[in-house]
């Protein structure tokens, strides 16, 4: 640990970045390097909570959200912490707190439905209707995701589901992909989708973790192309939102 203590400390006049050995860091639990730097140059972005601790904070802040407030569980993917999530969700429902989730839905059916029964509002990404392309972009096919969505709708779930698609030029912006998605939505009585214009807000996080960002170039969508996609959905009777212009 002396490595961290002696190299983590920054001050003006010595602006050289410390060299980080991620192999050592991944096994570290107390991160003394984050507490020694007064300017918080190395900063611990993750913190462990018990479900009780988290519920305590949610309960405290509940009074501050106004009538439209609630909790959104996001990630990574929150369902990776399935048991913890269920505990917190149960607590939320007991307190009357509205719950929302952003998930890939790429989980075993049972686990997925288990979580969803406590969810009032869900965002699920459908990144590509072509399973091969989906696999190329995300390393897994889309079958499990689409099946889970079907199962969710058939389960009698009463929540609101909005599909999401980060729209990337040359990857999933084709009319064909949109048409497939539209018919999937029709089959399953889904009527809302949110198209998100590709952005690179995640880039710095990759770099902070010492990793290479694969999408540093390309993929940009024009506003015109986004609007054209939107009208395909609207013509099919599907409420299609672009970016933050949504109804929620």
């Amino acid at each position: 640990m002396s490595f961290c203590l002696s190299h983590g400390r920054h001050h003006h006049g010595a602006r050289t970045a410390p060299q980080v050995d991620w192999n050592k860091c991944k096994d570290c639990h107390d991160f003394p390097c984050t507490s020694i730097c007064p300017n918080r140059a190395p900063k611990q972005c993750v913190r462990e909570y018990t479900s009780d601790e988290l519920l305590q904070i949610l309960r405290r802040d509940f009074s501050s959200w106004g009538s439209n407030g609630g909790v959104t569980f996001s990630g990574g993917d929150p369902i990776t912490q399935h048991d913890f999530l269920i505990e917190v969700l149960k607590g939320c429902h007991k307190l009357g707190i509205h719950t929302a989730i952003e998930t890939s839905a790429h989980f075993p059916r049972e686990k997925f439905l288990d979580v969803m029964q406590y969810i009032d509002f869900a965002f699920i990404d459908v990144k590509n209707m072509d399973s091969e392309a989906h696999k190329a972009g995300t390393s897994v096919g889309n079958e499990l995701i689409l099946d889970n969505i079907r199962a969710l709708k058939q389960s009698g779930w009463k929540g609101r589901l909005v599909l999401r698609q980060p729209t990337i030029c040359g990857y999933n912006d084709s009319e064909e992909n949109a048409k497939k998605l539209i018919s999937f939505m029709k089959e399953n009585d889904l009527f809302e989708i949110n198209l998100l214009k590709f952005h690179r807000l995640g880039q710095t996080k990759w770099e902070q973790l010492g990793k290479t960002y694969d999408y540093a170039t390309g993929g940009e969508m024009t506003d015109e192309a986004m609007t054209a996609l939107q009208s395909l959905y609207l013509d099919a009777g599907i409420a299609c939102y672009i970016g933050h212009h949504t109804s929620f």
Binding site: L5, R9, H11, H12, G13, S35, I36, C37, P38, N39, R40, I57, R60, D61, S63, S64, W65, G66, F191, L234, D235, G237, I238, A239, C240, Y241, H245, T246, S247, F248
Partner: protein
């Protein structure tokens, strides 16, 4: 549109898609823009005209009864002030003949000028400064005259005085050598056994300034008398009262006889005010007679008519009423050095006049907005002539003329008036530092009004700030109950000064065929007493056994205790605080007592209820409420965080001894001090060779529990501190014989008092600013978001004190659009629901502020919220600029 139809079919109402567009803000009136073009070029100017006439008439009346003599002198200074009217002005009158002018009051404080006399006459080097002055830095930009140039001499690093006025300043000041309020009170203070203790405290700047520096202000104007009766009417009333009371005691053997003299004095002051207005009328007539341009000529003639009317009669239009309130306001600020003489709930006071004019069709909303815009310039031009310690350290160049809106009316309903919407509108179009606006937030206020106010806050000028009406009312009922405060009067409270809750009352204005209960102030200053005690400095002195290590002087008697347990440390802090309070209170009581005997308010004693009813001036407790003198703290959160760190690192984990902690602080945790580097920014750190030695202890101090994170460890200390002061402070008695209470606004003293304080146990470095306000987190230490901060701030009942101060900095992107306005309002509402008393916002990005620090010339009109007031960025000192930049910036709300 299709989208809505799809959603509607599914039973979803969409609000956001409706895209409520934010209204564009119309440009300010041409008259406003023309005058502001001049304003931006003006330097702050001091001249001797008013002071000369005061001095002359005072001595001409040597031997007369003091209250009459005083009123005659004040009246003369007003009646002989040369009227200046600029083209485009519709509202007229200035403090002096200069638009942005002020003048010294050597009868209050002469030593400053007398000590300067020689050097001024010789134009020699700058004179020695007192300790508080040396810690204060005045902003170098804008209208401040920080250095002499050409024919202009710089005084107090702020005011420019022309060379020809200097001999007058020196001569007038000489008269008061040894007999000014300052000199006489010092003479008697010196007879106190603890006077040396007092001097040690003041020299260390542990306590920041003397009460005579600004003996009036931090209170609310009351415009009722002249609005109801007019000056001629008041003169008649005075005669009636003289016939009734002169020569009789009314059963009071001590003060009863002075009633007759009071009314005699009031006649003098009313004649002075009336003459002052009449002079403006004549000046306007003169200008009109020589003006070839028809439009200008018409404007001058209108001014002449307004000024002639209000010189005698009660106002009969909105414009006359507004002009009358301005006249009274300037009259009061011209009778004493003062700050925080607040306008109060003007939009409720003037609503009857506005309503009638609109109904009669004699004016339009746009004309009223223009007048209100021009009013903003007039109030922004109010300068206070005081030493650098006051004008730089305390005021940062602003004089805190606060205008409150909202709250409850006499009947306990929403007090919001149509005129108040226009006051906000004028504040949005015409962006000036003053008057700052304060919303008295109450659940009863209409949503559209609150939204308009939030939309104004968003613009980034720092106003309106938000105060909790219910908390304010509760404080009134708590503090003024022994003097008969009831629910009706409690509803009339508002802000006096930047954040001093001041008592008020409603009075029946007969106008337009009906009676309207209009609110107004009903107490003297709610902002003198023991002022600005640096709480962290007291703690430092506990650790150093009473020695101020910065100067090497023994400030308090050594306690020689080991301080083995935390409570012992805390008890010693209380003991030192008490030593300071006892003696400082006595000295300030003497100062204020001498002030009220020789220098009693004249204009203000006419206006404040119930002076006229009782026949007693403010000095004789003529006002309805007098339990208004207080103890003012500075650096609360720096103090609490320091306690938390000591408690954790020394007493709980026992990782360090108290000596080790003290040693680390004395060595500034191994960093070069700001005194060395000249950089006072709280985030600037430059290591010395010792850095490694203190690295770990510094990290532990930085990582100790901090207030603002909903962490009970630190928050409980804040609560305990408040419960202690709630019961302790009333044991101090003011010169009015009333119990004192806690006022907590740092104004901008967290700069100079931070300057004199060494490193603190929370990891703050020597000389850097304290945390601002009283419940703002120390910059960068609130890491759990704004709701956690709110939770921490409300661990005690805010109605225990006169105020609590929360400054928040929001990035502009976080409150964009109408949805952003709503979010901002929700944020305010959240805090108010939890019982928070006050929150104010800087909606500006730190990047812009940093840019403005580098190139101030390009940001002449940039304004920021400091601590209860808004000021031009370029006119505030650099330490405060650094502190504002460093405040935690919330990017999402």
């Amino acid at each position: 549109m299709k989208l809505q139809e799809i959603l509607k079919a599914r039973g979803i109402t969409d609000e956001q898609l409706k895209e409520v567009q934010e209204q564009d803000i119309p440009a300010a009136a041409e008259s406003f823009q023309r005058i502001m073009d001049i304003y931006y070029l003006l330097k702050v100017t001091a001249d001797m005209e008013s002071a000369y006439w005061y001095n002359r008439v005072w001595w001409e009346n040597d031997g007369d009864l003091l209250e009459v003599r005083r009123a005659k002198a004040v009246a003369a200074s007003l009646a002989h002030s040369t009227p200046t009217i600029l083209p485009y002005e519709k509202l007229v009158m200035n403090k002096t003949k200069h638009l942005r002018g002020a003048f010294p009051f050597p009868w209050v404080c002469a030593s400053f000028f007398n000590s300067l006399a020689e050097s001024l006459m010789e134009e020699a080097e700058a004179p020695a400064e007192n300790e508080a002055d040396s810690g204060s830095v005045v902003g170098a930009g804008g209208g401040n005259v920080t250095e002499s140039y050409g024919e202009v001499i710089s005084i107090a690093k702020k005011f420019g005085m022309r060379k020809e006025d200097i001999p007058v300043l020196v001569k007038v000041s000489k008269y008061w050598d040894g007999i000014s309020v300052e000199d006489i009170s010092t003479k008697y203070a010196k007879t106190l056994p603890g006077f040396e203790q007092f001097q040690n405290i003041m020299d260390s700047v542990l306590v920041m300034f003397d009460s005579f520096a600004i003996p009036q202000g931090r209170e609310v104007m009351n415009y009722y008398m002249p609005l109801q009766y007019g000056f001629d009417g008041i003169l008649e009333l005075c005669d009636e009262k003289i016939a009734e009371t002169m020569g009789e005691t009314g059963g009071d053997g001590v003060l009863g006889m002075s009633r007759g003299y009071y009314y005699a004095a009031m006649k003098e002051i009313v004649k002075g005010l009336s003459q002052w207005c009449e002079n403006y009328a004549r000046k306007a007539e003169d200008l009109a007679s020589r003006e070839p341009d028809e439009a200008y000529k018409k404007n001058y003639l209108e001014i002449a008519q307004v000024m002639h009317n209000i010189a005698h009669k009660r106002p009969s239009t909105f414009r006359e009423a507004l002009q009358m309130t301005l006249c009274l306001h300037l009259g009061v600020v011209n009778e004493d050095p003062q700050s925080g003489q607040s306008i109060g709930r003007l939009g409720q006071v003037l609503q009857p006049f506005y309503e009638k004019d609109i109904a009669d069709g004699t004016t339009t909303e746009e004309e009223v907005v223009e007048l209100l815009e021009l009013y903003r310039i007039k109030i922004t031009c109010i300068e206070c002539f005081a030493s650098a310690g006051v004008s730089g350290g305390v005021l940062s160049g602003n004089t805190f003329n606060n205008l409150s809106l909202g709250g409850q009316n006499y009947d306990g309903l929403s007090a919001v008036t149509p005129l108040e919407y226009l006051i906000i509108e004028a504040g949005m179009r015409a962006q000036t530092p003053q008057p700052t606006l304060s919303i008295l937030y109450d659940e009863k206020l209409p949503e559209d009004f609150l939204m308009k106010a939030a939309a104004c806050t968003k613009l980034g000028m720092g106003y309106p700030a938000w105060m909790n009406n219910q908390v304010g009312m509760n404080f009134m009922l708590r503090q003024y109950d022994p003097e008969g405060m009831d629910l009706y009067d409690a509803r009339a409270w508002c802000l006096g000064g930047c954040l001093e809750s001041a008592p008020g009352c409603f009075l029946p204005l007969e106008y337009n065929g009906k009676v309207t209960m209009i609110p107004g102030g009903a107490s003297p200053t709610c902002g003198t007493g023991i002022h600005f005690t640096g709480l962290p400095k007291v703690l430092e002195l506990v650790l150093t056994n009473g020695v101020d290590k910065r100067t090497g002087k023994q400030v308090f008697p050594p306690h020689n205790k080991k301080l083995k347990i935390f409570d012992e440390l805390l008890d010693q802090w209380k003991e030192y605080l008490d030593i300071s309070n006892r003696i400082v209170n006595k000295v300030n009581n003497i100062q204020m007592d001498v002030w009220r005997k020789y220098n009693m308010p004249a204009v203000n004693s006419l206006l404040k209820p119930d002076c006229f009813k009782k026949g007693q001036h403010i000095g004789n407790c003529g006002a309805r409420y007098n339990a208004c003198i207080n103890f003012e703290s500075c650096g609360t959160i720096t103090f609490i965080n320091s306690l938390a760190s000591l408690k954790k690192n020394v007493y709980d984990t026992k990782k360090y001894t108290l000596e080790e902690m003290t040693d680390a602080m004395l060595h500034n945790f191994g960093f070069r001090t700001a005194y060395d580097t000249g950089v006072f920014s709280p985030d600037y750190r430059e290591s010395t060779d010792d850095a490694q030695k203190y690295a770990e202890i510094f990290a532990d101090c930085i990582n100790a529990p901090k207030y603002g994170n909903a962490d009970p460890y630190a928050d409980q200390l804040l609560r305990d501190y408040h419960m202690y002061l709630l019961h302790y402070l009333p044991t101090l008695e003011s010169f009015f014989g009333k119990p004192e209470y806690l006022c907590q606004i740092s104004v901008s003293t967290h700069g100079p008092q931070g300057f004199i304080t060494l490193a603190t146990a929370d990891g703050r470095l020597a000389g850097t600013t304290y945390s601002d306000g009283s419940v703002s987190a120390a910059p960068g230490t609130d890491k759990n978001g704004v709701y956690a901060l709110f939770e921490s701030a409300t661990v005690y009942d805010h109605s225990q004190n006169q105020n609590a101060q929360m400054n928040l900095k929001l990035h502009p992107s976080s409150v964009q659009g109408v949805q952003g306005t709503r979010k901002l309002l929700e944020l305010v509402r959240t805090y108010m629901r939890k019982g928070g008393f006050h929150v104010q916002f800087n909606v500006v990005s730190s990047d812009i502020l940093k840019e403005a620090q580098k190139t101030p010339d390009q940001y002449r009109d940039l304004m920021v919220r400091v601590a209860g007031f808004t000021q031009y960025w370029c006119e505030i000192g650099k330490p405060i600029q650094d502190e504002v930049i460093y405040r935690t910036e919330y990017e999402e709300v």
